[in-house]
Symmetry: D2
Subunit: 364 residues, 4 copies
Amino acid sequence: MSGNTFGKLFSVTTFGESHGAALGCIIDGCPPGLELSEADMQRDLDRRKPGTSRHTTQRREADEVRILSGVFEGKTTGTPIGLIIENTDQRSKDYSKIAEQFRPAHADYTYMHKYGTRDYRGGGRSSARETAMRVAAGAVARKFLEQRLGIKIRGYLSQLGPIKAEKLDWDQVHENPFFCPDADKVSEMEAYMDALRKEGDSIGARINVVADGVPPGLGEPIFDRLDADLAHALMSINAVKGVEIGAGFDCIEQKGTEHRDEMTPDGFLSNNAGGVLGGISSGQPIVASIALKPTSSLRIPGQSIDVNGNPVEVITTGRHDPCVGIRATPIAEAMMAITLMDHYLRHRGQNGDVQVSTPVLGQL
Amino acid sequence: MSGNTFGKLFSVTTFGESHGAALGCIIDGCPPGLELSEADMQRDLDRRKPGTSRHTTQRREADEVRILSGVFEGKTTGTPIGLIIENTDQRSKDYSKIAEQFRPAHADYTYMHKYGTRDYRGGGRSSARETAMRVAAGAVARKFLEQRLGIKIRGYLSQLGPIKAEKLDWDQVHENPFFCPDADKVSEMEAYMDALRKEGDSIGARINVVADGVPPGLGEPIFDRLDADLAHALMSINAVKGVEIGAGFDCIEQKGTEHRDEMTPDGFLSNNAGGVLGGISSGQPIVASIALKPTSSLRIPGQSIDVNGNPVEVITTGRHDPCVGIRATPIAEAMMAITLMDHYLRHRGQNGDVQVSTPVLGQL
Amino acid sequence: MSGNTFGKLFSVTTFGESHGAALGCIIDGCPPGLELSEADMQRDLDRRKPGTSRHTTQRREADEVRILSGVFEGKTTGTPIGLIIENTDQRSKDYSKIAEQFRPAHADYTYMHKYGTRDYRGGGRSSARETAMRVAAGAVARKFLEQRLGIKIRGYLSQLGPIKAEKLDWDQVHENPFFCPDADKVSEMEAYMDALRKEGDSIGARINVVADGVPPGLGEPIFDRLDADLAHALMSINAVKGVEIGAGFDCIEQKGTEHRDEMTPDGFLSNNAGGVLGGISSGQPIVASIALKPTSSLRIPGQSIDVNGNPVEVITTGRHDPCVGIRATPIAEAMMAITLMDHYLRHRGQNGDVQVSTPVLGQL
Amino acid sequence: MSGNTFGKLFSVTTFGESHGAALGCIIDGCPPGLELSEADMQRDLDRRKPGTSRHTTQRREADEVRILSGVFEGKTTGTPIGLIIENTDQRSKDYSKIAEQFRPAHADYTYMHKYGTRDYRGGGRSSARETAMRVAAGAVARKFLEQRLGIKIRGYLSQLGPIKAEKLDWDQVHENPFFCPDADKVSEMEAYMDALRKEGDSIGARINVVADGVPPGLGEPIFDRLDADLAHALMSINAVKGVEIGAGFDCIEQKGTEHRDEMTPDGFLSNNAGGVLGGISSGQPIVASIALKPTSSLRIPGQSIDVNGNPVEVITTGRHDPCVGIRATPIAEAMMAITLMDHYLRHRGQNGDVQVSTPVLGQL
């Protein structure tokens, strides 16, 4: 509960630094009886993995996850699932500069203030590398939600800097390195990214995530509303600066007659609510959208200070993503999956409706 | 922890329905030694109170809070503070229609699905009336933060439907019924609201909240980031559909060189981060912005269904706010105050730095 | 979560001081649809109430509980249940002595160290008066457990100082002021208590609590074992210094062949485990036993110090129970009920198996 | 929070099965700046390790712990500490019998009821092997408590079946395989254990734990009393059936004049309270005592049923401790250390009084 755990009944606790020995997590609360192997997680891990196109960081991590507990004879047992990913690409490097300087818009300065110390190698705990474990944990939630409840969670990049996707073709999302659902925009995005890399600058992005098939009734008002917990989950992703549910900020200029989702016996007539009313799922698709800031690791120098308070000029030379948003789609999906799974268990219990059939002894 | 509690060390748990006997809350974790009386809370409660201008609902509630525990000889003791507001304006009314129908965009339908029952009088638990207790609890947090740490939390309405405030003059905020910081826009807003009321329609709004004087170092990565907890807190307010920290959604189109807040020995050169880096406060002002949807209680009929699934036409005739955003400023301030207070105690301990001076006995 | 809440899904948070305005609590997580009125709680409150025989404190409190929320048309709605008991017997009294002195074996000294202040009137928050709210909350849990699951929770006083009950006749428990299940010991207990009162001294006691009808499968290893949570719940009762489950401390001298509860197709052959194996209920009765210390409010003077560290002689003159154990039976029952209820919901979900039948709309 | 986490600010979450790939845990909330290496944990792990005398199970586990995160340049950073112990002694074995039978007094039957499945190899998650991670986590807490606060936590075996230690000589505790503080009883214990092993039976034990140097003021009434949390922590240890604080069950027959710990300017005159008054530490030593049941893995056959409900005769042939209490001393110390550490941080904050000295930038 000290900050590195998310979820009350489906609890995910992560550990690990960017350049430490390993990343890991414990999933506590996964119901028993779910078929689970490393392969179930690897698919999503590979989607998040760096180095798969020229548009992401060239750091090469195998990101091979290993299940250490909680699975027996191919199925979950209801006990905690321990996961680990060993770090393999720890290039020996001269960290003397980064140890002394606070990079603008990084967590360097704030970690130093909070803890009085920091593991500066590759950003340490504040590195987006930590999100690999969220993707692994999210894959477990997704499998349960899909198999048992038919819930499908999918995300896509809807905007890369100034370029907006104008079509939502789910089949296109995995056909390009951007998770872009609009095939017509892909070459424009490639050109934009190539130019950006040459400049040494970076850019922001928008990711949308949708959960189809969510039953009505999930969410615990007042504070643990489904949308509030989703906002928490999504805002906790590195670089996220904004979260919208359904119509989001557009609702400011909507009139009530326009915003309200009318109902008929055949269903809702619109989904401005994004699938949540009064903090509880309505049975419509859950729709969220997030804004990711441009990474601050730039080859263009910037003003900063060192640990002694003296002015310095900072240049980042390492391997970095010019648009961190590109790899964020699987992470956002994972966080939505974990949130929905947690609320499903809160509503239905730790056992997730497992029917137990062993003989019950009479009482003496 | 079942949904009606916010905060880990400064915990606020609320109860109460719109037309029930009373609203109440327990603040658990307020440090001892804080001077506190009902008047400290009443000021903020009065700012949220309905019926103070023609632009908000004409329901008349005294909203008089009473402290039942946790304060002794005018000061907090460290034990739980019990608060209560008796409901006084419970007009006897015919609820037969509302009991049978699901109003579009209300929580009627989802509460019915979650609980199989609902208190339909005035929206029951899903009514914004519940936020009165948040404002009361927030006032306690604000007083502590201001007195002990010099933190000042202030909010304002930055947009009412299509009308944007263009100036931020803090002195103006309390000079008009909208919490609008731009005096030049007030008459435009008044005219807009009058027209809206005639139409029987409603409109959305945007509220900004700022905390000045927050020390660096508050926030617990990875999941309990200060900004993630703020997003949780703000999204849990009725009608909120979007949350931004700092540059928010604008960061999508920002380049890294533009977004990063450079540092000099004299301070940061900008605040796109909104005062949070890596989930930890940076010492800059914490800046958040929220979108509130238009209320769905409209005099213009809408399609819906009844509890038996038959189509009905719904018209709301009661007393309602055509723009719920107008009264949301004190609520947003309260939720930011509670969040900061909680993180302050997590960082500094339940006692909030209280120095204890009683003699310690030797050990036998 | 700051100390005044018990339970994760069935959460009980209490507030109130002995001589403050009121006691109260919020029950968050009670499933919807349970018939509930004040009378359901009053029965147990009256069993705990002081002043019903000459053997307990003569303070006269009506202990009338009022439901403020969470119940609609006679049934729970799933929203938080707010409860309040106004304090009526606040005799004006001279507290100057008690304010300056630390009574031996009371919480005076430790509260002063923790908080730097304390509400000294009648023990303030540390008074056993707080347990009235636990009894009220426990009554709600008991009703649910009994009606829905057939679970019956009953306690009795098994030892008063040197006098042990030798028979367990449930019908006798409510036939005497001691909750003693052995009619033959009642007159002995009465004589003992009368002598004690004359002396101005006090005595300890042992209470046993049994839950019949608990289904197998409740409890969450490793740390939230059912027995560990029960130990937490029972040890949190004022004056409790020891907790046993099943054979308890007797198991130290038991051999494995003696202790193990053998199983046959007709049931277990013994219950040394007290109904819990590996932290999970076995289907046998849950059996716990607690030790309560003698109250320290005595008419016989004792050595102590004042707030300045000077030696003083302390005599308690107020109204007190010479054996706090006498009134503890309903409190122990309540804490067992709350613990079982919480684990039932953790296993079965917040809704406690409520079947919801409203029509589900198709998705657009 | 799903059962495998203990502590609110110093949170320990464990995973791992007896015969799985590895055991592990995450310590979340350890303050930064503590010097920490594997050696600090290994000392306590070796004290718990099986196979070090003929009186404990002959399973040979290296129990070598590896730190995976949270330590940088030899010191903790404030981020989660990931720990792992690989299982090495996984003898291939025929588990067909144990898979089909419920061993009396084991968790087999209840795990099956709760989860509908179980990892039956060596008891799976319910094996005491899990406590290795508690000992490792406890070692971190102990080091902090000792270095920063001078708190010393020590335990000993005070009774083995019928044999009671009559002297408390701390220097003797580590001079014998029983943690017995009375040298005169060691040969008697050895003979008793040898006879027991021949019989194929087992026996219970009592362990006492003492924390010296605890400052007054730790503990959060009402429910999170220090003693209630300690009871929770200690009862969560495998095989524990009873917990006492201070005088414990002896207080039943104590009079108030005997039980109350009188105070003088030089200190308390006795410690019947066991260092806790009103749920808050008093500055006296914290004293707890626990009862451990005899293990149920016996060579003497016992009646039981199989998974189909048919009667079977069960004999355990594997490697087992005839007295699980013998190795429990380090585990009890660890759980007390974790509990005290958690309450220290709740009182003093996540940072545990760390003074941070980096320059604070001015605000813009």
